[in-house]
Structure formats: structure tokens, C-alpha cells
Amino acid sequence: MRPQFSIIIFTTLTGMAQGLLFAIAFLDFPAQIFSSAFLSKMAFPVALALLTLGLLASFFHLGRPERAWRAAMMWRTSWLSREVIALPVLMAVTFIAYLYSCTSQIQTWLWFSLLITAIVLWVCTAKIYQCIRFIQEWSHPTTVINFTLLGLTSGWLLLCTLISLWQSNDNPPTSGIMSGIAVVLLFMALNLKIWIWRRNRELRPKSNLASATGIKDSNLRQISMGLMGGSFNTREFFHHQTDRFIRNLRRIILLCTYIAPMILMSYAVSTPSTLLLSLALLIHYFGLLCERWMFFAEANHPQNLYYQRVS
């Protein structure tokens, strides 16, 4: 598939915001550890800003953005429609939590709602891709797990950075344990990615030229796709990059998304500095953009069987 930057930015930014909200809800839910000032002046505004930026980015993917409101109509059948509802719901719950944090403490039910809505949005976003059964790279439960896990890693790294940026003494400092958890999360995400790539490599396409055309002959090839100037079909379903580019990008993904942040966060276990943490976050986010690009690029669409040779 052709990766679209609007969707890449949308899924990574909202994923990070979800991870941040999930992390603070998860930590503060059993026993209050964050100060109200940190939540109302730092964590929630950052989460809301990321969600808003993500929402804005998603509009650039539409041919007719002025009709975007219509996308909430078919929630009974469409995961895209469910996502369109889940995102504003998460934003609303975050905003309510923000209002609470300005005046009083956040109650358990609100933390609980944040946890649930963050998970629901991850599921909706990933299911959009997972539910297309003939894109075999996507049609697997690991799609949801990968979206969730990478949302958690980026959100967790963001939380570590935000805590270390918070100068007042009313909040716990970034502890070695938090950096350690970041390393563990990144390690899990790395293993999942390697597993997914291995699975993709071993996939056998269910469709082939014989099933696509129904012509019964073992020696079958296309000699013309019926057009010479290109069309939507030749543009939309392929990444238009060389094999070498893809190979190199895979290395960059491994290094930036996983390995470099793991090394930096391992250092941060003993010496957590704002510079170290924010560097880890930035490199991880860059890697995440590449990872999401690759997620689209490595999806093989069976319609490409019909578009193999110009003439």
C-alpha cells in the first residue's frame, strides 16, 4: 500500500497520547502519585494537544474533509466509523479529567474511563487494517497488539520526559524503575516486531494470477494491464520505493524505534537526565514514523496481480 503521511502522523501522535493517558491513569489509579498541578499544567494539556494534532492530521487524508462528520454514521459495521467516534470520546474524557485536575482530585471512575477509552481507540484504529482479510500482513491479531504496544512505549517515554521536565518538587522525579519499565516495554515491542516481520516473510499469498484470472494454465503471465499512463490502481497500492530503500529502512526502524531508545533508557536507569530522556523520546518517535510507514508499505494488496505489466 502507499503510505500516507496524514495517517502515519495521526496514528503515531494519537497513539502516543493514548499511551501517556494510559500510563498516568494506570499509575495514579491505585494510589495517587502525581500532583494536580503536574496533571493540569503538564500531562493533560500535552495529551490534548497531541490528540488535537492527530485529529487535524487525519483530515488531510480525506478527499472531502468538509464531509468528515458523515464518517460517524456506520459504526455498526465499519471500524473506521468506530474510530471516528472513539477519538472525540477519548478527547472529551481527557478534557473532563483536565477540568477535574484543575479544581480537585481525579476520581477513580474517571481514571477507569481513561483506561478504557484509550484501549478502545487502539483497538478501533488497528482493526481498520486488521479486518481487511485479503491483506494477509495485516489480517492478524498482532496488528492490534503492535499498535497498542508502540502506543504504550511512546506514551511511557513521553511521561518520563514530562516528569523530568517538571521542575517543582510536588511530583515524584523520574525514577530508575520508570526507565527500567521503558526498556522492558521497548524490548517486548521489538520482539513483537521481529515476530511480525518473520511471519510476513513466510506468508504465502492466497491469491495468485491463476485465481485472479481463472485461466487454467501453469504458465500464465500478464502482457498488458490495459493502460499506459498510470491510474489510481497503480498509484495507491504500492509504496513506489526500491528494495534497497526498504531494506535500509528496516535497519533504521530497528535502530531508532527500539535499540537506541533501549540503550538511552538503560543509561537513564542510573542517571535520569532530561536531555537523555527527551533524546530517547525524539529518536523513538522518528523510528515510530518509519515503522508506521513500513506497516503500510509491507502490506501486499491482491489487486496488484492485475497491474504487473504496462504493455
Binding site: 478527499g63 472531502r64 464531509r67 458523515r70 456506520m74 459495521t77 465499519s78 485465481s211 500464465l220
Partner: protein, 218 residues
């Protein structure tokens, strides 16, 4: 299979000569009919590109000298279980209950392209100028027209085909010409593995078997 009507095309690969008359007549009718215009970008430049509902693709089978060239016209197959319809977030993509035609409501489409991802056949094209998803309508504005003479109330591609390779009819009516052709000449579906149950069928080539049989006889 439900009892309601399912209009479809049955395409005879024995007689398609790959002339692209169905492609151009489709483009002509649908640019001037109620579905149009089908935009062309840079039509007189070096790299023209445009929206089409119908394509003729050519395949070669066999090893020389026993090869055959097969032309395969492909448009929306109006699946009985269209995977493109449930994924549409706006409801712009729908399958008509009364005749099984899969259509896009161009006034509701937001141009997110999700339906085109969800079609294994690549039957949908986003119109570059109108920024809405477009696809074969089975000439829904022709076949029910009350102003056209009755003999012309067929899809433009069917009327244009010089070899009558395209049969139009109700594949749920066992007595229709389309159903009889599927039944008697082993009409098949494209990519049956995804269980989309395309309404459009293809009639396989029998010429090579005939030649082979004649060779064996002589």
C-alpha cells in the same frame, strides 16, 4: 443465494478480442451520464491519467508455440458479499436490495479510499478531480431509462462489444441468458478464495481444448 434480483455481466473469454470498445463506451457514457464526469488529468500531455470503470487486461498462457492470448475485461464485479460496503464509514457505499448493484453515493463519499483498500479486485478508483470514490454502476442510469428505446436499456459496454462477449442479465433468475451461460458453459468467479461471491462471471476459453481434441483426432 437470495431470491431477489442480482444484475450482472457474464463475459465470454472465447470471443473477447481485446478491442477496448467496452472501455471507451463506458468512459463516454459515464462522463455524460448522471454518474459523470470521469476526470482525465493531463489528457494531451506525456503522462495522461484518468478515471475508468472498466479495463481490458491481456494475459498470455502456455509455452510457445502452444500459447494463447486471453483478454480479460474487468470492472466492478458487484459481489453478492461486497467487502467494500460494510467498511464504508459514511454509508456512501451500498448494495441495492432491488437489483444487487453496488453503488457509491457521490454526495456522501468523503474520499477516504478505505473501500478501495477493501476491494481485492481493484475495482474502485478515486476520481482525482472530484475526490470521491467512483466505480462501475452497471449503467444504472441506462438500464432503467424510460427515454431510451428498450433495446438500448443495457450497460454501454454490452452494447458496444462487437463480438457480443458481454451478456447482461439477472443471475438469480435461472432462465436468464446470463444464468444459462454460467450453468452450461461453466462460468466462474474471480478470486473465489475470498468468498466475496462476485455476481459477474467469466466463461472460460474452450478453443484450446477444441484444437487439442482436433489434433488428437487427426
Amino acid at each position: 443465494m437470495s431470491q431477489t434480483k442480482q444484475l450482472a455481466l457474464v463475459i465470454d473469454l472465447n470471443v473477447c478480442v481485446g478491442c477496448h470498445a467496452c472501455v471507451t463506451s463506458c468512459k463516454e457514457w459515464n462522463s455524460s451520464g448522471s454518474a459523470g464526469p470521469l476526470t482525465d488529468l493531463n489528457p494531451y500531455g506525456a503522462n495522461p491519467t484518468g478515471t475508468f470503470f472498466n479495463r481490458v487486461q491481456t494475459f498470455e498462457a502456455g509455452i510457445f508455440p502452444n500459447t494463447q492470448t486471453v483478454h480479460l475485461p474487468k470492472s466492478c464485479l458487484h459481489c453478492e458479499e461486497p467487502p467494500c460496503v460494510p467498511v464504508c464509514p459514511t454509508g456512501a457505499s451500498y448494495k441495492r436490495k432491488e437489483d444487487g448493484i453496488v453503488l457509491v453515493d457521490y454526495d456522501k463519499c468523503i474520499g477516504c479510499s478505505y473501500c478501495s483498500w477493501a476491494c481485492p479486485y481493484g475495482a474502485r478508483e478515486l476520481d482525482q478531480e472530484r475526490q470521491v470514490m467512483t466505480k462501475c454502476t452497471l449503467c444504472v442510469d441506462r438500464i432503467y431509462s424510460e427515454t431510451l428505446p428498450e433495446s438500448e436499456r443495457k450497460p454501454a459496454c454490452v452494447l458496444a462489444c462487437p463480438t457480443s462477449a458481454r451478456i447482461f442479465g439477472d443471475v438469480h433468475d435461472p432462465e436468464s441468458e446470463a444464468s444459462i451461460a454460467i450453468r452450461e458453459r461453466s462460468g466462474y468467479e474471480l478470486m473465489p478464495e475470498w468468498e466475496t461471491h462476485p455476481a459477474n462471471h467469466y466463461l472460460p476459453r474452450s478453443i484450446m481444448e477444441t484444437i487439442e481434441a482436433a489434433r488428437n483426432d487427426s
